[in-house]
Subunit: 237 residues, 4 copies
């Protein structure tokens, strides 16, 4: 089996801050677990804003993206990876605008589902680190989980680490240990899934059969209408 | 290998509505993929509100929960499952209060991490269906991903299905197909992970070594201070 | 002018914790600004889960709610108030289930918009305090802003205070000062708006005229199609 | 009294789509209510990413921003406005990256609170329109409410409008009427608050007195410890 590769995307323009520190710790976890790793420093790349082709024509968006800049270079690294860890600073409770632009542009990878039947991020393993001086960690992380899962990525157990303070994150034990676990788990699940090549999304569904099946199951429930539900609520437990 | 079991939690007090329909479709996907299934109808159980023991003493919260009601019965089913699919209606952009109470009480399962080194939900595979008449699907699903991942659950690729309309969801092709994929993927990943018994969270981390490693890596970056970053922003690319 | 009244809803079953402390501080701000105040301790009331009548028939939900319990008592206090401050603990990044049940049941107040042309919460001034031992403050507060604004409430400037730590919030200067400002601002805006009795939502809109107006404005823009937008993106700035 | 001015920020690079249509409708509402209006087309401006000065030194961030681009031109318009309506498309359940960059850069306006005791957005009235082909409306709107309130803006009643469909929003009655109400309400509240010049945030707080007051109030509650709360939960209501 060839060794899985984990890419760590570092979202901060500052490379001495807390998100960078936790990115290194997650990378260490992935290396200790036996994966290859590479850090992508977003601020080294020019990535222009998405222009929303998909809203003009859903099939207009595909990889490679029509915009000429550095996005496709990052995309190549993501496509050839098995796992992705995004470590981001928090600006106003959320990823910074330049990180959001990367997420927007990654539509061109996901939308290949419609062109080829498989997202170019399908089946990859993703996890998230968010650090800020103040609130916003769960807003950011829940958001990233939703987006990467919508790209077709798996999210392994305990795939989150965060820090919400001006203080040095290296003094925050749980954040450090969680980040190390992120590296471990992204690598561990990437190894387990390495040989799973079939797409994780299927269009091969008998829609009419599913409708009939469901209507039949619902009818068996013989559920009471609203009036009985009100009576039940008022009649005690 | 024994057959994995997928539990579907249905959150609606109405059992003829859209969340119930998609719950059946996800169940069908899991059965077609070869898993055992069981639907838990939350509204059949009395579950009292969490009283926040963990804020008095973080070790006070453990399984079984001290509150005497039906929670521990549901918990037994969750503990013995390999996969969990939560299908919930949306009330004000979020899970209803009675579903949130179940999530609150599940703290007693997760907190066993501190007692025994392993969350009682560690390594299970979880996915989510949210239906409402109006907005709130992504708010609900991103939230549920964050919570179940924090319990220690894996989230497989394409683990979300939703519907935001008064209309019958059985006329919403993508929602039906997504729900079927949820059933397939929760079962598929549950099978792959069936023999993975080691906890997915480790406390076995050399904290001091990680700090030193990280400080060393950061120092190698020789990153420019703020002044140079401003100059770079203003000097073009 | 009669004195505005500010109701503070305290969501914690524990009345010695951080959300209670900040509730008192916000109350003090409102009193110092010249408002009447009352604290509602949610855990003193029995509030059963919402049974979703509105999904069976949108006109079935109205005030008073058909479920017999203590909800209508709290509702009376809310209806007669000018300002509402909700102080809540955070359970899994969000309001606890029993607080969410109150929000769900308040649908019966908001839905009077459809019965009488005015939400029973229309024009009230609302603000939010969220405290927890860990993450979730912005998830909780952004959520509450969306819900209360959807009830028809105004949200005054600086209407948020939070704390994400096990430590005593009385040592967290910004959280204390923010909470005091919440009291001040809810009272200040309540006074300013005291004589504004017209509903803040109007159905008196000429829909067809608005459509024509908008189509005319859009046509004047003579916007370029997708191809030109791609060219512009690639032509540099 | 001079006439209040409402600025509408349009976030889409496409100017024939749904967010633009609702922007025009909101503008019409504001004009009909008697306000001056101006639409700002974000995509006409070059706005570079925020470089996070505030994380190096909280006092380093101030208005005007040190980055040389078009941001300060937009900022001037915002500063001289009384109301702000942001109409944005939804990319992956959230504002697009280029809109987020504007929000990030607006830190320089808010942070004047620390320099001069008043945010440059203090007391302005803000509301939000979000349109997309799919999910994400409540995620986007709740987020924007939290951010603009954190800048120091008021959010008037019914300050949200949204659309989650590929179809022409001019066929979506509620979205059109809600958008018109947004224009009405931003203008109405802007007029009411026109002469309110005192900052809406005060640092003039006796912190020690508040602590003593709160500790005294808490002690009067004589709240039961955890054991009694458990007994109460188990003893029925």
């Amino acid at each position: 089996m060839n060794t899985p590769k984990v890419v760590i995307i570092e979202g901060s323009p500052r490379r001495y801050g807390n998100s960078t520190k936790l990115a290194f710790i997650a990378e260490k976890g992935a290396k200790d677990m036996g994966c290859l790793t590479e850090i992508i420093w977003i601020s080294d790349y020019e990535i222009k804003p998405c222009i929303g082709c998909v809203s003009d024509d859903i099939m207009a968006c595909k990889y490679p993206c029509v915009i000429r800049d550095d996005f496709n270079k990052i995309a190549e690294k993501l496509i050839s990876s098995d796992g992705i860890i995004l470590s981001t600073p928090i600006y106003w409770y959320m990823v910074p605008g330049h990180v959001k632009i990367l997420l927007d542009r990654m539509t061109s990878l996901e939308n290949m589902l419609l062109h080829n039947g498989k997202s170019l991020l399908d089946g990859k393993v993703a996890a998230f680190i968010a650090t800020g001086n103040d609130a916003g960690t769960s807003t950011t992380i829940s958001y990233l989980m939703d987006v990467f899962n919508s790209y077709g990525c798996h999210i392994p157990a305990w795939a989150l680490a965060y820090h919400h303070s001006y203080e040095d994150v290296l003094n925050n034990g749980p954040a450090v240990i969680d980040s190390y676990n992120i590296g471990i788990n992204v690598c561990r699940l990437s190894k387990i899934l390495k040989e799973e090549r079939d797409p994780w999304y299927t269009f091969n569904v008998d829609f009419d059969e599913l409708r009939k099946y469901t209507e039949s199951e619902i009818s068996k429930l013989k559920m009471s209408p609203l009036e009985e539900r009100v009576a039940r609520a008022n009649g005690g437990k």
